[in-house]
Symmetry: C3
Subunit: 341 residues, 3 copies
């Protein structure tokens, strides 16, 4: 039994160390098709090679969140197998497009450590990078989790808390190489709205709902080679329920957001994300968005900073009088998208 | 909320207008694999590049119904989002093969309008074309739906009812470019029966049954980017059930028909189709066929006009004494297939 | 109704005859993606083209069990449609790698026949070969099944029972052409253990459990074009349950075995396999392995003979005091894997 991976505990992390995560993964047209079967995904840039060619690319790049999930999945055995809680994301930036046939691997640097006052667990901050087969960074993000200690008597490390940006600056957003929205076909894309048609504070109801089945979230989460037991093993929790991978809800919300944000072709950055309440099979997921900022990146490319909230209840639910998330809120995501200006 | 698509209502259609549907879609090997996972699909021409090469093609074309569903899915946001009923299909012809990597888009011309006497809805006829990235028509069909009015007081359009053929004529059936059945390997294809071995009036029980799960029909329907709420949202109907996309039943019936029609390699046309009763998860779908016509198209290629009926009950169910479909009948499809003569 | 395939009965088999199975199948990147969605598959050689290139191959070959299931599926309509029981496997050898885009077909030679004393059924032994589009054998195995007679009065054939090896000899194991483990990256592969780090008799608990859904096993089994009714039709058994294809459990167990056997990159042979008890949706499958032999094939390549047992209960379940499999045992598989030495 010594040959199986028990995962890392809090005292196993060293500030500054880099962990190379296992199992590189080639993602190709099959993963693209599955992404379209698992999520109601309609953004034209990721759906159509012809549309992407007309936008100056060599073909349809793989969906940004497909890249995120693949990189994230690689980190689970080293970062979150013994995690008690997934505390947050920050500074996620998509640096370059990923194409069918690319192979992704991941590395994480430990950038922060803080033992909890109870002495039984601690918080670990890592900066994770996803790399393609040429060694180029395609994605980077910071994530922090609460991890149990194996041995409560293990000494506490020196506390180091990284300084993290509240949001990626517009100037840091990367426009995919070659992207050109000058000849953009709004009719083919599905909606007429440009970046400058959106107003700060505007709220958009994405209208549609999707009821989730066990088979669907497990197919997705396995596809990302995410090994967290709670998603797959109905005997793991006392209530016999499988917890749905938070990233599954992110992808559902993003896909639903097509209705009202059809031209938000590229996810350029994720500023923050909270999985407010657990999601289970049988939940019907809806989403709404609020525009937080509208920026001009280039004459043809604008950026929207969005808050997209996924709920299992009615539209526009968020927080109660106590300032806490309402029980029907599943996800509160703060991110940047690119669209024709 | 003004940015989301509410769908068109009856008074939004103009006779003669052409609607370009959104979101072109590249379909490739991933969609082919999913088609084989979703339906018990065994027709050799679509299963094997090697078999297709031996039939004169450059490789296995994508399944004809996969093409149909992809094109149909594109039309939903513009044609049937506010549809009360899906009334019929006619004159569906598959004009040329679609290959992995092709990008499909769709256009519909409004060819008929008739307001209902209740003034609350009307019937819209459209002729839809699916086009590949070169702008070539790969599929065309007529469909008519009953659509609600937004405003009951909106004036009725002039009534225009198109004349539609009861069936595509044998001379109009397109043989895929390059197709050659002279060296056809019946053993590899699975059955010895040629077109001329079938007799008009002959009935074939396709024997097998498939019980449908929610996850399966939703994966399929999402893959076709069909956005109709009733297929995905368990809160949409009062009974909490999700209606299965009629095309899912068409593909199931076609795949089941392999058993007895293994050499019916190509669907060349659909003359008519009725979704006789709704299909739900948990239903076990069976199918039977009746031969309506046997035609010689070329020395090596014959055509069969088939009625294939999908049921959730016993074989050969169809209509009751009142001439109406029995409650166990799901689909009544009238179509042409090509097979070695 | 005479056109549908009723399957073969015991008296339809002739010693020495070769049956060419129908429906060749091209397997490509889409099937690879689905394999990763259906099973928690993480072996790096099959997950990453880049990793496979570093191991001397031209890219990631398709998973060995994906090849097994595809070949096996082709044989079902001719071998086991009327089978009462699936009795065993032997001498399964993987002869050469299968690559995305290859087309597989299958042939079976009848190598043994023995009518049962009750006169109502008999045992049929076949040696099946899977062939690629160049006619090269990629897989061969012996399987025997108990098949019903159509006519109890049909005369019994002369009894012929083939001699089968208890296990494939290490010298018969094929190392994939070009495979080179000299520069193997253990960190990327996920574990540090070489073949010589394993001891005969060592037991490994693979820890994780996967709860199976109906949609998942049906998607998988359809993907292999396996037509056995019991897997798909909930009305087929009196208890309304669908029996899960035994190969689905094999693939689940193999994928789970990553945890402790991450470097067992290649399945080279299957010596024997017993489906000890039926598996149904809702079962949570776990697995454990015992090392039966450790062999040196080449300086860089070692082989492990493994017994991997899949259970729906606790770890290390196997047989009771009566020597029979405990009811929680689903699979007992005896096979050879290749790993860096």
């Amino acid at each position: 039994m010594t040959k199986t991976n028990p995962g890392r505990f809090f005292e196993d992390y060293r500030l500054g160390e880099t962990i190379r995560h296992a199992v590189p993964r080639t993602i190709a047209e099959g993963e693209r098709a599955l992404y379209h079967a698992l999520y109601p995904q309609r953004f034209a840039l990721h759906s159509s090679d012809a549309f992407a060619l007309d936008c100056g690319l060599d073909g349809a790049p793989l969906d940004d969140l497909l890249v995120f999930h693949t990189v994230f999945g690689k980190t689970v055995p080293d970062i979150s197998l013994n995690a008690v809680a997934n505390l947050g994301y920050a500074e996620a930036r998509f640096h370059r497009s990923v194409w069918p046939g690319d192979t992704l691997r991941a590395e994480s640097e430990v950038i922060g450590l803080k033992q909890n006052s109870n002495g039984r667990s601690g918080v670990v901050w890592v900066r994770t990078r996803g790399l393609n087969q040429a060694g180029e960074t395609v994605l980077s993000y910071v994530r922090w989790v609460m991890v149990r200690k194996r041995d409560e008597d293990a000494p506490a490390p020196e506390t180091a808390i990284p300084e993290l940006a509240h949001a990626v600056e517009p100037g840091e957003l990367e426009i995919p190489e070659g992207l050109d929205f000058l000849g953009y076909d709004f009719a083919l894309a599905g909606e007429p709205h440009r970046a400058r048609d959106y107003a700060v504070g505007e709220r958009i109801d994405h209208v549609d709902g999707v009821t989730i089945e066990e088979a669907e979230h497990m197919l997705a989460t396995r596809l990302w080679q995410n090994t967290a037991k709670v998603h797959f093993d109905a005997t793991h929790r006392d209530d016999g329920r499988r917890l749905i991978y938070g990233g599954h809800v992110i992808s559902l919300a993003r896909a639903l957001s097509f209705n009202g944000l059809a031209n938000a072709q590229v996810v350029a950055a994720i500023n923050a994300g909270a999985h407010a309440n657990p999601c289970f099979a049988g939940d019907t997921v809806r989403a709404w968005s609020e525009v937080r900022a509208v920026e001009r990146l280039r004459n043809d490319v604008g950026a929207l900073r969005l808050r997209t909230v996924a709920t299992r209840g009615e539209a526009f639910a968020l927080t109660g009088e106590d300032g806490k998330y309402l029980p029907e809120v599943l996800l509160d995501l703060d991110y940047w998208v690119l669209m024709p200006r």
